[in-house]
Symmetry: C2
Subunit: 269 residues, 2 copies
Amino acid sequence: MTPAGAAQLALLLEVGSDPKPGNVDRGHDHGDTGFHHFLASAVNAYPALEGASEPVGEAFLEAVGAAHRHGGGNTHFGALLLLVPLVVASKRGGVSEVEDVVRGTGVEDAVCFYRAFDLVDVYVEPRERFDVRDRDAVEEVRREGLSLFDVMELSVDVDGVAGEWVNGFERCFRAADMLEDYYDGDSNEAIVRMYAGLLAGEPDSFVAKKHGEEVARDVRRRAERALERGSLAEFDRELIEEGINPGTTADICCAGIYVSLRRNGGFGV
Amino acid sequence: MTPAGAAQLALLLEVGSDPKPGNVDRGHDHGDTGFHHFLASAVNAYPALEGASEPVGEAFLEAVGAAHRHGGGNTHFGALLLLVPLVVASKRGGVSEVEDVVRGTGVEDAVCFYRAFDLVDVYVEPRERFDVRDRDAVEEVRREGLSLFDVMELSVDVDGVAGEWVNGFERCFRAADMLEDYYDGDSNEAIVRMYAGLLAGEPDSFVAKKHGEEVARDVRRRAERALERGSLAEFDRELIEEGINPGTTADICCAGIYVSLRRNGGFGV
């Protein structure tokens, strides 16, 4: 399977496994953005992933634009921000090159990243400087000579996807290890446990942005408990009722599946 | 969306809608062939669909071989037998050209079709002549100069997919009409109703092959009743318990989704 094929399959397996507490999955739609929009998004993203190469910012911008040509809202912005550099790294030689790929980004990559926010409605917190919603921020980024890696560094404390960029995709690789440890003939079960393990491991940054840090810490504790008790389906129903969707964890879950598919051809699929 | 993208999305939307009584869907796996194998199959088939052109038999053979590089059993043999000529027709000018495409097949297309049975374990009834499991049948087909269209004509009474080849894809086009009639903002609901409408319209030929014609007629009647009563979820549970999966109806459902996606860009996805 090519890097682009593996990335597309990772997007599909993530949304196609359940219960992944709080997120859209094969068992649950989410307001105006349903399971079918995630399927369409994965189909739409493929040609851009197939063509993806450095510069990474341009490849990301193209993938995000293509993916979101569907009738729903944000489906794969965060997931593609992890998958595009991973795909580019695979084409260069292997997923382990991803750190070099992201550290090699420049100012024009950062500009493309800011432009991507014009293409899809992503939930972000306002910032005083370099705000992605601020039309003047792109000029400021250019003036200060910030690379896309630098931009990610600015958000490392509040965004788990930015954290992966800065910390060598550490949780993505750990997610792949978990997946391989958990796999025992049932890919759905392995993905669900890996997702729950990530959620129990660290407060989800998307939940923190939307609902505050205390809620994110509470969700982490509840995930840990649900995992111990084997009550993920119940926890899923609770989070859906509370309107809490741990989007960062889903993004890292996608990237973890991709790494595993590339490293050893996956887990029975 | 390109023809190949629409075909891939059609495969994903079919398996990604539920309840589709008796078949693998987002709510239900089937023995050793699970939902994830259908996702992998759709990913694997894409490059072959993107490259598909006449001769159709060769394109079909390649797509079937690529799709089934996963850990499960038959996922998309029948669906690809409908989708490949539809994709080729789209590339020639439009889905309405599909009748010309299948009538234009030759002996080598038939040979590819027989070879495809070596690549995936498809449930078929034995035949006295031209049996797809018979190694000598290919030579017999060559000797008699049968085209792939001729081979389909031999099976028109016992196989609903062959019936589509011979009858101008009539039920596939009708399925697309149904989908567009039923669509009212919910793509899952429209696909499920279209599938149930097809199942209520004619006995499923795959059910007839596996369980006999009486069972297939009974399933048709029960589908009609379940559709009237709005009890498709219950009917789904019953068929799963009885081990009855109406595979031909699922194949035509895929093709119907494809036709609709190509004709008018689909229904909200």
